[in-house]
Amino acid sequence: MTGGIDFAAFRSEPAANALVGRINRLTERAGGTSERPIALMEVCGTHTVAISRFGLRAMLPPGLRLLSGPGCPVCVTPLIEIDRSIAAATMPDVIVATFGDMMRVPGSHRSLESVRADGADVRIVYSPMDALEVARKNPAKLVVFLGVGFETTSPIIAATIVAAAREGISNFTVLPFFKTVPAALDMLAAVPGRPLDGFICPGHVSVIIGSDAYLPVARDRNIPCVVTGFEPLDILAGVVMLLEQVVAIREATGSAGVAVQYSRAVTPEGNTTAQGLMDDVFAVYDAEWRGIGVVPATGQTLSKKYEMFDATKRLEIDVPTPVGESGCICGEIMLGRNLPPDCPHFGAACTPRSPVGPCMVSTEGSCAAFYKYEQGWRSGDPDGTEEK
């Protein structure tokens, strides 16, 4: 326990059981059944892992289904960016620095892990500042840091770029394929062909962008949004708050809005310093999401002012346009239209050891989380709801 806050208390079983009791009652009142369950989407991959890792799915009633959204930054990175990262790693006098998440994602032919095994200089770092240190120590090399992440991660890379500019470390560059959340939620809310009754909004992205960022989608799409923390009790409490809004909408006593369960960390306006850094260092563009397509205004690349830190402007990285996808339905899964067991490859040709699609490779991909942590799919009951 770190001084004043006892974080272990966020995992107490009695409180969990109490919350599950409320969820059961509210699901019933909202009219959720196993035929037409109330569908809540957790947009963040860290939520997907926490839900599965703590075995929460099997604690929930059959009338409630948790769908995994496109919440893992690695999974949504288009194949051409993976191929560019791998190509950069094989160029002379280049050092690629990256978070561990990108190492095993299969490109069209290779992965960073396999090119490293053949001698490419690929370094795994904990922080972008470590990558800047690599650039300081290797002035004769061009360091390319892989710019993957949502609004929790992109501002700290923006701060690193500003530090590089201040110190004149010109051999530090970033290959930018950051994604942003709010506009993506609007797209997800508009996806036909599957019911969606609420968003479990990403806790740490919201620390940066503030909970007010979800007001447009809640209002325009009439869909409840609750910003939730990552401890099991946070998640269960977030589900209770969402169900309370669903019941209010169905009983016409209220409308969709934005609520904050993760109140110890998230404010309405967010971290304005971080937002200022992003506005200064990045420019917004219409980004491609792997398996989903282009989603307007959801990409961050480098602004004109910091163009010299853009690896694509400093290196001639030309890679052939990737041929079609590998026949996996990761896109459908990320849109919440399917659960991993609906995919023919899942658990057969596609396993964590021999991943076919990105959602199985990344530790936060919905398929990897489902394969590793869900009890039900092995016994033919994908929701695992019979496992009480």
Binding site: I5, P14, V43, S127, P202, A265, V266, T273
Partner: protein, 85 residues
Amino acid sequence: MCLAVPGRILEVEGTKGRVDFNGISREADLTLLPDAEAGDYVLVHAGFAIQRLDEAEARETLKLFGELAEALEQEDADRSDRESS
């Protein structure tokens, strides 16, 4: 989407701070929290402090969870009383 871990700032030096995580201490960059001070609880993501945690809110949340648990235990106790009487 993003792992961030709560810790407590031990000391601040310019834009850097020493943060304690249950007995581990590590330097964290405070550029995103210009007015963070020693003693603050912060969330750290990939070496950067990205938010100051509101201790009062944290205790409020924990109090709520505690009350829920007690309410359930009370319910169970009442039910077993009814069943046994």
